[in-house]
């Protein structure tokens, strides 16, 4: 790679300075406004919560492995599924996506930092505070009259279960305030990412040349702005109900429990796209590099993403078919939900088109991308099944739904995330990860994932409802539940190898070059890890693959675009 580095000329970076004392380093991290450090803090914070949320899932799967089990009490089980869902969505998936966007977006557009570095730090600490408030409920949840209890109202917290009458004490308040506070952080970060991508681009980085990663994160940020705010509004209403005796969701005073469902899912469904669009962003960067071809259909990819973002704002009530809407309402939400599969299908075809005829390199990130493509397709297919209202009436609230959305979130988003971790680990740490361990992680996780979530569809079709504490033997559910729980063992092993790989490689791994994958976007033009100022001189861009142009001045891309 020395050759490639030499062509970078003015982009080359001087060596780093020596290490500081430990407490100075900690202090530097706490007061930092550097987008790379904040990005890493977001990611590490999300990883910690990933482990916590994973432990909660494991407790549920031990409880459900055999019928009539009493591994935990029903109260604890309710807390586990509430905390698992809330943690994974708000304190794992969102921060980790923000972390990658924070770290990579300025680098990819040739900027020295985010548009508002201090707002960036503020947003991170707000998100962190939200997570701490939520988990403090384990200690202080019931206020003065108990040893503490976590919220147990489910992650979508349907009214009137959340009213004072049915949820006394403070556990629900911790849930509300935790999400409210982290929501402020989310809006701040989304505002920052959008502004950065719009205003901080280097010369020549026109919107038609931005890496797809930045395009997709721009769409994600726009979605966050319009969908997290409704959740904030609904949480404010719920707080008014609980503390000041307001009647928004109080059916006895004429309020409506259904309107909470609307407000929640106006947030809740686009939220899925807030998480999956950054996952698409990872896939759109990694697949071309490991197929040794530029992305197929760049502008169509952008158009499809914007379309997905737009349609996703009009599908929320497909979570509510069973409450009994009018036939027009049903028809609208069936149609809009099915319509969203068209741009999504276009994206899958484009990734396949990128791989088609390419020289595919089967490194760990690419393996996870391929896993993503298959699994996300299946997740989409069960999604189309569930979008048909009559089918939904049968299976809403069953394990089939759980299987479907875990297929999206684990099989889609988490696989894309693992791909991103392996792909950008050399850039962030300056070290190479261990390829063998990575492949072990991939195969263990694939096996575990399919054992758990393929077989989860079956008890759903057999009628097993979600959120049940235990079940009777003799309904044909036992064997499936056992297989589901066995799959968890493989997933835990895979995740342990992943963490081990990252930690071991960080301390003992081989030093990574600046551009280990021979990639084309600007983050690979600077040192690994990049210096605080990112680029010694601000780069100039003339095509969608600026690094290709630098490495191949005799055959640059800009001649053909």
């Amino acid at each position: 790679m020395a050759e490639a580095e030499s062509v970078l000329g003015p982009l080359a970076v001087p060596a780093r300075e020596g290490a500081k004392p430990f407490f100075d380093q900690v202090h530097d991290w706490i007061v930092t406004v550097d987008h790379k450090r904040l990005g890493i803090m977001y990611i590490v914070y999300a990883l910690v919560f990933l482990v916590i949320g994973g432990i909660e899932a494991t407790i549920m799967r031990i409880q459900l492995a055999i019928p009539h089990n009493h591994f935990v009490s029903p109260q604890v089980f309710n807390q586990m599924f509430t905390m698992h869902g809330t943690t994974m969505i708000f304190f794992v998936a969102m921060p980790v996506m923000f972390g990658f966007a924070n770290y990579l977006a300025p680098l990819m557009i040739g900027a020295r930092d985010m548009a508002f570095p201090r707002l960036n730090a503020f947003s991170f600490w707000m998100s962190a505070l939200g997570g701490i408030i939520l988990y403090f409920s384990f200690l202080g949840g019931s206020g003065l009259y108990g040893a503490g209890s976590a919220p147990d109202v489910g992650w979508f917290a349907y009214a009137p279960l959340t009213s004072q009458a049915f949820s006394p004490g403070h556990s629900t308040d911790y849930w509300i305030i935790g999400l409210l506070v982290s929501g402020v952080g989310s809006i701040g970060t989304a505002l920052n990412i959008a502004t950065t991508i719009l205003c901080m681009r280097c010369p020549g980085m026109t919107v038609g040349r931005m890496p797809l990663f930045t395009w997709l994160n721009l769409v994600m940020s726009g979605l966050v702005l319009v969908v997290v705010s409704p959740l904030t509004a609904a949480q404010i209403m719920l707080l008014l109900d609980r503390y000041l005796g307001a009647h928004f969701f109080d059916t006895q005073a004429g309020g409506s429990a259904v309107i909470w469902m609307h407000f929640f899912w106006i947030f809740g469904h686009p939220e899925v796209y807030v998480l999956i669009i950054p996952a698409f962003a990872f896939i759109s960067e990694i697949v071309p590099v490991f197929s040794r071809k530029p992305i197929f259909g760049y502008s169509i990819m952008v158009a499809a993403t914007v379309t997905i973002g737009f349609i996703s704002l009009g599908v929320w009530a497909h979570h509510m078919f069973t409450i009994g809407m009018t036939s027009y309402g049903n028809a609208f939400f069936v149609a809009s939900t099915m319509a969203i599969s068209v741009p999504t299908g276009i994206k899958i075809f484009n990734w396949l088109g990128t791989m088609w005829g390419g020289k595919i390199v089967f490194k760990t990130p690419m393996l996870f991308c391929i896993g993503f493509l298959f699994q996300f397709l299946i997740a989409g297919l069960t999604g189309i099944m569930l979008s048909a209202a009559p089918f939904n009436w049968q299976l809403s609230g069953s394990y089939f739904v759980i299987a479907h959305f875990h297929y999206v979130i684990v099989g889609g988003i988490l696989f894309a995330l693992f791909a991103a971790f392996y792909y950008w680990f050399p850039k962030m740490s300056g070290k190479m990860y261990d390829e063998t361990l990575g492949k072990w992680h991939f195969w263990l996780f694939v096996i575990g994932f399919h054992l758990t979530f393929d077989f989860m569809h079956i008890p759903g079709i057999l009628g097993m409802p979600r959120r049940i504490y235990t079940y009777e033997p003799g309904r044909g559910w036992e064997i499936w539940n056992l297989i589901i729980s066995i799959g968890v063992v493989f997933q835990i092993l895979g995740t342990l190898l992943f963490v081990l790989n990252l930690v071991w490689s960080y301390f003992k791994g081989k030093t990574a070059s600046n551009d280990p994958w021979d990639a084309w976007t600007l983050e690979w033009a600077t040192a690994s890890p990049p210096p605080e100022y990112n680029f010694a001189t601000i780069p100039e861009v003339r095509s969608r693959r600026p690094l290709w142009d630098l490495k191949h001045p005799e055959d640059p891309d800009w001649k053909y675009e």
């Binding site: 548009a115 959008a194 502004t195 705010s229 008014l240 005073a253 004429g254 309020g255 001045p553 005799e554």
Partner: protein, 198 residues
Amino acid sequence: MAATTIALPPVEMPLPHEYRGRVGMWCLIIAESAIFTIFVVAYLYYAGKSLSGPTPAEVLHVPWFNSVCLFGSSFTIVMAERAIARGKTRLFGIWWLLTITLGAIFILGTAREWYHLIFDDGLTISSSLFGTTFYSLVGLHASHVIIGLTGLSTIMIFTALGFVKQEHAPKIEVFAMYWHFVDAVWVVVLTVVYFVAR
């Protein structure tokens, strides 16, 4: 690697960095609009569904004077922006102070209206759905006015101490965008609360 033989074409300049304040404020305004939308939807959805208590037609009076003051403050802040852009800091201070005064009149007017509603008409946030939605929507807007007034006053203090110069005009302009947004929201809230759902 062969030496570069092809002359590099010139590069286009994307949106300049100086726009970031305005773009960021637009993002905040979009997010805030979404919050207000939900409260307005709740207000309209629950209009006329109260089981008890005074109805809007019985107790609400259109706050003409208040509204004129708030809308007027949008005008005075524009004058202040123009003054600072031309470097006239004293004139800026006068218009800015006038803006604060008009905003303060609005918030005091709201306080008087609420006092009257609570103690004379018996309408509270917990008395009926009308009370719930009225105080939360108008209160959400009023809290934005208070945040705006806090910001305005902070800048006023800096101006009085002589820190605000012509070079700060772009930042003043970004802050003024927020104040304009608060005014624009009042158009919606006023229409919905005092006319549409009366």
